[in-house]
């Protein structure tokens, strides 16, 4: 009977569902993106180095002497060291992330169109950069800061290759040193150590002759920073969401208020015909519970369409600075069980509260007082 009732009240069901979806869809889409980004960051972190060594002067980062790689390699407990340059440079009007890496072993292991870097003067470019400059493999590329140096595009990362790769230009370490005019210097060393040696190795690196003042971040610290970053962005989003959500709830309650007269007549009639209060409440709970479940399910589907096929249009730039309103590819997203449960619980709580409280008050009164 609740199902039939639901079908009978199509307008009320549709309006309540629309109000709920208006509130839930952005919330679900946003938090799914936060969770997806967080997960991708964790995966990257797990695949990354144990220690990140950067130079420090006056509390700011400074380049390191590339030759220190050998000294670090000699520290007991160190398994591998990779030098890297991470910088920013304009290319064709877009600010690109320039990554100088030390050879094929340090190249990002992601799929790409074209081939890998085989020698000096070759680069891999991210999808957003390739789109902005209409680049494809074998095209030529120059940077405004050194127009004389011409690079050949060896490969292009696909949009789904990962968030970091979208505006990246990956090149050999020597090319990056030349591009930034810093021969023999790097911005960081990535250090892999034997299990349990991270603290010892970090201390020994700090004490190396000639390395100067350094900042060393281990995997746990980077993980905590990542978590805090996404936690903040998720928290801000949640705060903004609640403001919008309150408006939506008010709208929904107003709609339910408009139907209170009809509801009152129905409750009065059912009671007059001999329905018990608990039966009336059960019917209303079932009808509205189903309505809320439908709205929550619909909201999840819509949120998925937004962040999946819809590429998180107009929402993704909120989470990743610099993305265009409609990104070339969507951000990573994740609809975990907790998020789905939150959608259902929120939806059910709102609708059932709005429906059951007035019904319970009506149902306790003599039938004709409830229905008139």
């Amino acid at each position: 009977m609740a199902l039939a009732d639901l079908a009978r009240h199509t307008f009320r069901t549709a309006v309540v569902g629309a109000c709920l979806a208006a509130a839930l869809v952005p919330y679900l889409a946003g938090l799914a993106m936060v969770r997806g980004l967080e997960r991708e960051a964790r995966v990257s972190l797990a695949a990354g180095a144990d220690l990140y060594v950067t130079g420090e002067a006056f509390g700011r980062t400074r380049p390191l002497d590339a030759a220190m790689a050998e000294a670090i390699r000699a520290v007991p407990g160190v398994e591998r060291v990779a030098a890297r340059i991470t910088g920013r440079a304009y290319v064709g009007g877009a600010l690109a992330l320039v990554l100088g890496v030390e050879g094929p072993a340090a190249w990002p292991a992601v799929p790409r169109a074209g081939r890998g870097i085989e020698g000096p003067g070759e680069v891999l470019v991210g999808a957003e950069i390739a789109r902005a400059l209409s680049l494809s493999p074998r095209d030529l590329l120059t940077f405004p800061r050194d127009p004389a140096e011409v690079f050949t595009v060896a490969g292009v990362f696909p949009p789904a290759a990962g968030l970091w790769s979208r505006d990246a230009v990956v090149m050999g370490l020597g090319d990056a040193q030349d591009l930034f005019g810093r021969p023999g210097q790097v911005t960081e060393f990535l250090v892999w150590v034997r299990p349990g040696f991270a603290d010892t190795v970090a201390s020994r690196i700090r004490a190396l002759n000639g390395i100067g003042s350094v900042r060393i971040q281990d995997r746990a610290l980077v993980g905590a920073l990542v978590e805090a970053g996404y936690g903040t962005s998720g928290g801000l989003f949640t705060a903004l969401f609640w403001a919008a959500f309150a408006c939506s709830v008010l709208a929904m309650w107003v709609v339910l208020g408009f139907s209170a007269g009809e509801r009152g007549r129905e409750v009065g009639l059912l009671k007059a015909l001999g329905w018990y209060t608990e039966e009336v409440l059960a019917l209303v709970a079932l009808e509205n519970g189903l309505s809320a479940l439908l709205a929550a399910s619909g909201s999840v589907v819509l949120a998925w369409l937004w962040v999946g096929p819809g590429r998180g249009a107009f929402l993704a730039p909120y989470f990743v600075r610099g993305l265009p309103p409609v990104p070339l590819a969507g951000l990573p997203y994740r609809f975990g069980p907790a998020l789905l449960l939150a959608a259902v619980v929120l939806s059910e709580t709102l609708v059932l509260t709005a429906a059951l409280v007035p019904t319970w008050r009506l149902a306790r009164r003599p039938p004709l007082e409830a229905g008139t």
Binding site: H9, A272, G274, E369
Partner: protein, 231 residues
């Protein structure tokens, strides 16, 4: 077979403008088990209000109502609902339907709550609608029916669960003489089975020897709702 009795029933309605309208003032009535009572009087005399009070749909401001040994005016609302479900059927005069439910679904609303299966519900609805000449209208919606047809639907709904006492408010007010005869015949059939019948109507048309009658007068005439009864 349920006797119905009321003593000193008073009911005052308060309008939004603060006016007090006395609908019933000191009304008493008694119908023995299996009896037939006409509540008559002109419009505005309080017939419908008295029926509502007798059926436990409205609480009087003063006075008492008994169904058999149960003083329903002293019972909490859930107990009254239980009794009404088990013992009573009420055919409303005004349109009181689930507008978006079909006629047969409206007739069996109470059976749905009692857990009766859909097929059986439909069969029982068709049985009652058939008695009242409405079997062909079972799958229509209430708003597709005339006023007189809707009143007969209300009567079918009041009878479908086999009540011990039937309250019918103007059951033949908007029907032609033939249909009024059909409605009366159904009421008499139920009464003959032992169902106590209380009917509100302008006039006690079709009254038979042994029927009881109470006539209400509008409150303005005598400074409050007045009543007269005869049997």
């Amino acid at each position: 077979m349920i006797p119905v009795r009321a003593e000193g029933v008073e009911k005052v309605f308060r309008s939004r403008g603060g006016h007090r309208v006395t609908a019933l003032a000191g009304v008493g009535v008694e119908v023995p088990a299996g009896g037939f009572l006409f509540v008559t009087g002109p419009s505005g005399s309080g017939k419908t209000t008295l029926l509502h009070v007798l059926a436990g749909l409205l609480r009087p401001d003063r006075g008492e109502v008994w169904w058999g040994e149960d003083r329903i005016t002293g019972l909490p609302e859930p107990r009254v609902t239980r009794l009404r479900r088990r013992l009573a059927g009420f055919a409303f005069q005004r349109d009181r339907y689930l507008e978006r439910a079909r006629v047969w679904e409206n007739v069996t609303v109470l059976l749905a709550a009692q857990g009766v299966g859909r097929r059986q519900r439909r069969a029982r609805a068709l049985e009652q609608l058939g008695r009242l000449g409405l079997a062909d209208w079972a799958d229509h919606y209430p708003w597709e029916l005339s006023g007189g047809q809707r009143q007969r639907v209300a009567l079918a709904r009041a009878l479908v669960h086999g009540p011990g006492v039937l309250f019918a408010d103007e059951p033949a007010a908007q029907v032609d003489p033939d249909t009024a005869g059909l409605v009366e015949a159904v009421l008499r059939e139920e009464n003959a089975r032992g169902v106590t019948v209380v009917v509100a109507s302008h006039e006690a048309l079709g009254a038979k020897p042994g029927d009881r009658m109470i006539r209400l007068e509008p409150s303005g005439r005598r400074g409050g709702a007045a009543w007269r009864s005869s049997s």
